[in-house]
């Protein structure tokens, strides 16, 4: 396979913003909508996904020459599932309350399409160093998105952030926000904002470029 020129910094930073798995690629929607009803849940979920993605990217990238093409997907799933089990039991041992709240969604990290997508599209084709950098960037972007959604929903839905009350007594909770419709609404509005920023940024860069040409 012909290697393209890789730049470690670029591979790391693209996942945070330019190719953010949630806001740009719209992957991993299941945990995104299901467990972001409080910032704490969102962070636990984001960190667990972070661990699984980075560890399995490292593993698969180092094993890429021994994995036969025909059975690669099932092997990826087995490797990912191993790390998910690790994460599952770690959370159960350290944060039993959060584990109870997240419930079935921790085992479901196995089928998070963002993780499988990174293995198939990146980790299995490029050297270990870049695969890990890419995984850290992507998982960081995912964590950032989870945190953004979880914070908005928790602030409006219960008036707290990480269980710290923000509005004092007598806050009227916005019930919709902690229910599923709130997840869809918030995600939609954040996507809208993201696309708007990207568009404005593109227009700005275009303008700068034409001005520079004019000089």
């Amino acid at each position: 396979m012909k290697q393209k020129e890789l730049d470690g910094y670029q591979e790391f930073v693209k996942g945070i913003w330019r190719e953010n798995p949630v806001f740009v690629q719209v992957l991993g929607m299941c945990p995104m909508l299901a467990v972001t009803n409080s910032a704490m849940n969102a962070v636990v979920m984001g960190v667990a996904t972070f661990f699984v993605l980075v560890a399995s990217s490292f593993m698969i990238s180092s094993l890429q020459h021994w994995i036969p093409r025909q059975v690669r997907i099932s092997l990826y799933i087995v490797i990912i599932a191993t790390f998910v089990t690790l994460a599952d039991y770690t959370i159960l041992a350290t944060l039993p309350a959060a584990h109870k709240q997240l419930g079935a969604f921790i085992p479901l990290i196995v089928v998070n399409c963002m993780i499988l997508g990174r293995q198939e599209a990146f980790a299995s084709r490029f050297p270990v160093k870049y695969a890990v950098l890419d995984a850290v960037g992507m998982a960081g972007g995912f964590l950032f998105a989870m945190l953004a959604l979880g914070s908005v929903r928790e602030i409006l839905g219960t008036g707290t952030l990480f269980d710290i009350p923000l509005f004092g007594k007598g806050f009227e909770p916005w019930v919709t926000m902690i229910l599923p419709p709130g997840g869809f609404l918030t995600l939609g509005l954040i996507l809208l904002f993201f696309n708007w920023v990207t568009k404005k940024r593109g227009e700005f860069l275009q303008q700068v470029a034409t001005e520079r040409e004019g000089l």
Partner: protein, 337 residues
């Protein structure tokens, strides 16, 4: 165009104009709603007007903020945001905190219209979408109704709750006729239903004035008469059948027609030209479906009032109805030649 002008006129086509424009249609609807608004203010006092003003302000603020500067004069001037805010306000409880009404107006225009691309492109009725959001978000405040006929200048403390703060109700809440029917199997006096002297949303209680406004709109040709007629027909047939089956348990057809938001919804919201079918046959299907759903939700559903969800559901079906009721195009040729 009648003209006694002897001069030769050179004008670009079209030469005949109907005179009905978006702003004029919107103005007609607002005029038709005014009597009901005045009646609501009479029964519920100044607080009703304040809730209306807050909801209109929310709608206009979002419309203004999300319209490009060069289009602002048209977007605000065509009264559509004003009408959306007014319709939303009329479906709200009179003692709702003003900040909630403002949020509702913002949601109605923001999520109901702007996000779809502005006037004429939305799938759901914006006012009802705003109300659905409010009902889901603040379920307690949205179902705490106050009784009509208190002092005109009484401003309950719940109305003036600070933003993000829970309202504190100082008066005992009154039940709406629909709530009484659903939870206590009690009917209401028909005359009070007709003139609007009952608990309920501030603009939907007076059946008589809403019908008068509807007749005005029909005379001005601003609404498709088939939709309200079909909704009423379906609701009357369905509720009569239930009433005949068990008159102690189910409300009669007259009660169905004049209670809750039925008339406001059927005449002013279901007939929104943007979100209702274009073809006459489609209008009949739309209306019959909505009428059936209202009775279904009211009688067998969990909510006392079903008009909002009935219309929103039929709104969702509108593109499909339009697709299947297109008139046949003649003169295009066909299989048999």
């Amino acid at each position: 165009m009648k003209s006694n002008d002897p001069h030769l006129r050179l004008l670009p086509a079209p030469l005949l104009r109907q005179g009905m424009t978006t702003p004029s249609a919107m103005r007609d609807v607002i005029l038709a709603l005014l009597p009901a608004v005045i009646a609501g203010t009479w029964f519920f006092g100044l607080k009703a007007l304040l809730v209306l003003a807050a909801s209109i302000a929310g709608a206009m603020a979002v419309e203004w903020a999300f319209t490009p500067i060069e289009k602002r004069r048209n977007a605000i001037g065509d009264n559509s945001a004003l009408l959306t805010g007014l319709l939303l306000g009329m479906t709200l409880p009179p003692a709702l905190p003003l900040w909630m009404a403002f949020v509702g107006g913002m949601t109605a225009i923001g999520l109901g219209k702007v996000i779809w691309g502005g006037l004429g492109t939305n799938l759901f009725n914006p006012a009802l979408l705003g109300r659905a959001f409010l009902l889901g978000t603040f379920p307690i405040a949205m179902t705490t109704w106050s009784a009509p006929g208190v002092g005109f200048f009484d401003l309950p403390s719940s109305l003036l709750a600070l933003p993000f703060q829970s309202p504190v109700y100082d008066a005992v809440a009154a039940a709406t006729p629909l709530g009484l029917m659903k939870f206590e199997q009690k009917g209401s006096d028909f005359l009070n239903l007709l003139i609007g002297n009952t608990g309920g949303s501030l603009g939907e209680t007076s059946g008589l004035l809403l019908i008068l406004g509807g007749l005005y709109l029909w005379w001005r040709r601003d609404l498709d008469w088939r939709i309200p007629v079909a909704i009423a027909l379906a609701a009357v047939i369905f509720s009569s059948a239930l009433y005949l089956a068990d008159s102690a348990k189910y409300p009669g057809p007259l009660f169905t027609l004049f209670s809750g938001g039925f008339l406001l919804g059927a005449i002013y919201m279901a007939t929104d030209p943007v979100t209702s079918p274009l073809t006459p046959r489609g209008a009949w299907i739309f209306g019959l479906g909505a009428g059936l759903l209202v009775v279904l939700i009211r009688v067998f559903g969990g909510f006392p009032e079903g008009m909002m969800y009935a219309i929103l559901l039929m709104n969702a079906a509108t593109p499909l109805i339009d697709r299947y009721t297109q008139p046949r195009v003649f003169g295009r040729g066909g299989e048999t030649k």
